[in-house]
Symmetry: C2
Subunit: 197 residues, 2 copies
C-alpha cells in the first residue's frame, strides 16, 4: 500500500524495469510460477497488472529471462570460486559453499533457480532446460576430475549433488548453521570417497 515516492528518475524506464524484475524474481522464488500472477507483481510495484506490459513482453518471457539470468550469474560465481582452488576436492568444496550461499539468500535476484519444472508451460520448460544444461556442464567437469572410487557412478553422483544443492532452499532456515557451514557438510558427505590410494 505505502510506496516510496522518492524513486530517482534519472533513467526512469530501465531503472523501473529493473525494479519490476527484482519484484518478480522474489515472488517467483517464493510462490512459484503459477502461484505468482501478473496482478501480484503489479501490486508490489504499485501499479495495476496491465500496466506492466509496458515493461515486459509476457509472463513467460519474464520468467525465462529471470531464470536464465539467475542461472548464468550463479554459474559465473561458482566458476570463479572453483578457479581459486587447485585440488579437485577443494573445488568441490568451493562449489558447494558458493551454491549454498546463492540458494539461501532470499533477497537476491540470483536466488530463484526454481525447479518448478512441472508447473511451467511446455514451451517455457524447453527454454529452461536448455539453459540449465549449460549450468550442469559446469558440475559435470567438476565431478569428472574427482578421484572417485570405481563403484561410484559419476553421472548419478553429479545428479545427486545437484538436486541436493537445489533443494536446500526447501528446508534451509536462517539461524542455525550458516550457508557456508551447510556447504561444508555437503562437501564432507560427498568427499570421504577417496579411493584407497
Amino acid at each position: 500500500m505505502l510506496e516510496g515516492p522518492n524513486t530517482r528518475q534519472r533513467d526512469g524506464a530501465s531503472e523501473r524495469r529493473r525494479e519490476i524484475q527484482e519484484i518478480a524474481a522474489q515472488l517467483f522464488a517464493r510462490k512459484g510460477y503459477r502461484g505468482t500472477s501478473i496482478r501480484d507483481i503489479g501490486e508490489k510495484a504499485g501499479v495495476l497488472g496491465g500496466s506492466l506490459y509496458h515493461h515486459i513482453k509476457s509472463k513467460d518471457a519474464l520468467f525465462v529471462e529471470l531464470h536464465n539470468e539467475a542461472l548464468n550469474s550463479a554459474a559465473e560465481r561458482i566458476a570463479q570460486a572453483m578457479a581459486a582452488q587447485a585440488d579437485p576436492w577443494e573445488k568441490l568444496r568451493a562449489a558447494c559453499r558458493t551454491l549454498l550461499e546463492i540458494q539461501s539468500d532470499p533477497n537476491s535476484l540470483t536466488l530463484p533457480m526454481m525447479n518448478d519444472f512441472r508447473e511451467v508451460p511446455d514451451k517455457v520448460r524447453a527454454e529452461l532446460i536448455e539453459c540449465r544444461d549449460k549450468f550442469e556442464a559446469l558440475f559435470a567437469g567438476l565431478v569428472r576430475d574427482l578421484p572417485l572410487p570405481d563403484d561410484i557412478d559419476r553421472s548419478i553422483y553429479r545428479n545427486l549433488l545437484l538436486s541436493l544443492l537445489n533443494s536446500v532452499a526447501d528446508w534451509y532456515r536462517p539461524g542455525r548453521l550458516s550457508p557456508q557451514e551447510i556447504g561444508d557438510q555437503v562437501y564432507r558427505i560427498f568427499r570421504h570417497h577417496c579411493p584407497p590410494a
Copy 2:
C-alpha cells in the same frame, strides 16, 4: 476418449471412488497440484468435472488424502525393509533402495509424494507438513543410529538424505540404472563415513 465399459459393478460406489483416486494420484504426480484441474481428472475418468463431487469432497481434501496415504504406505514399506536388517548401515541401504523404488514407479498411487509445497494453498500445506513430520521421524531414527564422524551434523545429514531421495523423481529415467542400483549409489555416497574406529 475410449473408455472400457467392462468395468465390474460389484461394489460400484467404492470401486469407482478407488478408480478416481488412482487417476487423480497419477495426474497430481505428473502435473502437480495446480497443474491438475478437477476437469482434467474428470476427463480421464470419462465424466465431467462436476460429476466427481459425488465421490470427493473437494480438490484440497482429495489431494491431502492421496498425499498422506502415499506417505504412510511408503513409511510402512521402508520400516519393514529396515527391520529386516540389523546393521545400521544396512538399514540405511535398505531404506534408500526402498524409497528409490517407490519414487521411481510412475504408476503407483504410492508415488506422488509431491514436494510441491509452494504451489499448494496454505491450509493444505499445513496438513501436508503434519503428516510429513511423521515420515521424517523414521529417517531421524535411522540417522541417529549411524556411527557418523563427529564433524557431520546429523540434522543436516538427514535433511540432505531426504531431499535427495525425494528429488530423484525429477531426473530419474527408466533404462539406465535401476532404482535399486541408484539406491545403492546413494548408500555408497552417504556411507563411507565410518569414523576411524
